[in-house]
Symmetry: C2
Subunit: 342 residues, 2 copies
């Protein structure tokens, strides 16, 4: 029998926890029998949620934790001090090999610090980037890095390109993923000091399909599969997408409600628009992995629903089955030291 | 009688030149009698366009130029070599005082280089930022800097905040404009090295209304009037707005055409949506000024229409009437040396 993938899930992380998180866990195990979800959180609250559903009992585990890390806390302090938090206990279950991956919708900072400090970077990995999947007109791209470690060096960006390519090929199934670097013009001579220094390194890097500079305007056009950038710019790209989309959609909804005529029209276009806007919703692809660690740590949105949670769980299974970490080690020439818990 | 404002206009700059540019000039002088537009471009082509309209003859002037600077050329080389281009001749007319301002929809790089090299920065101005008006849910903000000079220093950003505040107050009419710095979190401790160094300087800067960090997600919510950032990030912000908006609108249009039902709905919502999307169109506010120069140089979009051209012309009149350059000099404590042509 195939060994089940065990996914640790922070039942207390995010605005909709534990409700949507537990629901996502139940949906995942009801859909697939090759998964065990290990919930970390307040036993009473989690059991109250679990009660609502029927599911194969042997596929959900629960460890009680008495603390929760909030988004207001200093991530470094919280990870150090709150040993009995759902976040720390969940991450440690990956470090010690009990679980294959950890997912949280809680404090991004704490997920980043916890992943790096508790699980640790693979030997040879200079920086662990946070790499969300972002939608575009034709499908999705990987935006790497959107994490909290800004002011990257050229060699970091080269590793991002390598790890991102492996991820897109093995998790999303894109053959020979096109790698682009975010820049302010298409020419090699354009850019800031970091981009200018990184450009020739990416050009010379074997095993990646580097297509050159990508202007921000073309990111949502689907011009590249792996969008390499340092974390400050990556954060701006990601949050501009969210902000502009939310502003435009609310303006459009308002506009449709402005007259009787347009209200009737709105009723008629609504189903079609809903399908369309779904295309611009990346939650089907799960969460953002923190790449380059000795185990898998995945950040889902603070407002993640059961759907995003479920897809993040599936994403962890694919990550394990496709041996993404082994491929990253291989590609980057990292000695095959045992990963966490192996 | 009030002295007319003389605006030099690059009749050959942009994808729709000379047609839309000349049309914008005609519309401007037909609407206001306090403006003279001085066109620079190919005499025959421009006269052929002018022929189509009636307008007060004494409000449009024309100087023939035999060359055009294309977007493919190296800006620095083109500005140096193409003395008979519409761009160089137009910019020089500001330098020598014949015209009060210069507008072009041609090569951004050439406008930036031409402005800085031919007109020159005000004494004491460290860097001349390109500052477009961007739309938000409640109105507009000024995004400063989106130019070609990346890797700014903290003292550059402080001057951007000062100049941007003067612009928003005097040109757009915002009292006590709120100044924010683009950052990856709201806290003062977040950010890259540049933002962390700039933050306390902005806090301590007299005469501006600094409100702290602005996350990219909140830019289109209208959280600040002056959005300060270095040019690389500014470029990403601007182009993400364009890209996400264009992708979403095309997805929505496609969605509306997907069924008979939605097609009928689309007909009904169309007029209301058109009005709404107009809110998200900043062309009514003219072009992006290059601030801190001894004269006014304004960049309009490469695909600028007559409407944007006309509004850019009006913007130049307001700039002159409000004595924006004098106010910048005063605010920054720059000795009142005569500006170009004064």
């Amino acid at each position: 029998m195939k060994k089940k993938t065990v996914v640790a899930l922070d039942a207390m992380g995010g605005d909709n926890a534990p409700l949507e998180i537990v629901k996502g866990a139940v949906e995942a195990v009801n859909e697939r029998d090759d998964i065990i979800v290990h919930l970390f959180g307040d036993e009473e609250q989690v059991r109250n949620e679990l009660k609502k559903y029927t599911y194969p009992r042997d596929q959900i585990r629960l460890t009680h934790t008495g603390e929760v890390i909030s988004v207001e806390e200093s991530p470094a302090v919280a990870i150090k001090k709150k040993k009995d938090s759902s976040m720390v206990a969940g991450i440690l279950s990956v470090k010690n090999g009990d679980c294959d991956a950890f997912i949280s919708g809680g404090s991004s900072g704490a997920v980043l610090v916890g992943g790096q400090v508790l699980v640790g970077k693979e030997k040879g990995i200079k920086r662990a980037p946070l790499a969300p999947i972002i939608p575009n007109e034709k499908g999705v791209s990987l935006l790497i890095d959107c994490g909290a470690n800004v002011d990257a060096k050229p060699e970091h960006l080269v590793q991002f390109a390598q790890m991102g390519s492996i991820y897109m090929k093995n998790i999303i199934g894109v053959e020979n993923p096109r790698v682009g670097i975010v820049n302010i013009g298409a020419e090699e001579t354009k850019g800031n000091a970091l981009v200018k220094e990184t450009f020739p390194l990416l050009k010379a890097c074997p095993g990646i399909n580097f297509i050159g500079s990508v202007e921000a305007r073309d990111i949502t056009k689907g011009i590249a599969d792996v969008i390499v950038t340092e974390a400050f710019v990556g954060n701006v790209v990601l949050k501009m997408m969210e902000g502009v989309a939310s502003t435009l959609i609310s303006l459009i909804k308002e506009g449709m409600m402005s007259s009787t005529r347009s209200k009737i029209g709105a009723l008629l276009v609504k189903p079609a628009l809903k399908d369309t806007l779904k295309l611009f919703d990346a939650t089907e692809y799960g969460g953002a992995p923190l790449l380059g660690l000795k185990g898998l740590v995945v950040k889902i949105h603070g407002n993640a629903t059961s759907k995003e949670t479920k897809h993040a769980i599936f994403q962890c299974v694919t990550f394990k089955e496709q041996k993404v970490n082994e491929k990253i080690r291989e590609h980057l020439g990292i000695p095959a030291a045992p990963a966490a818990g192996e």
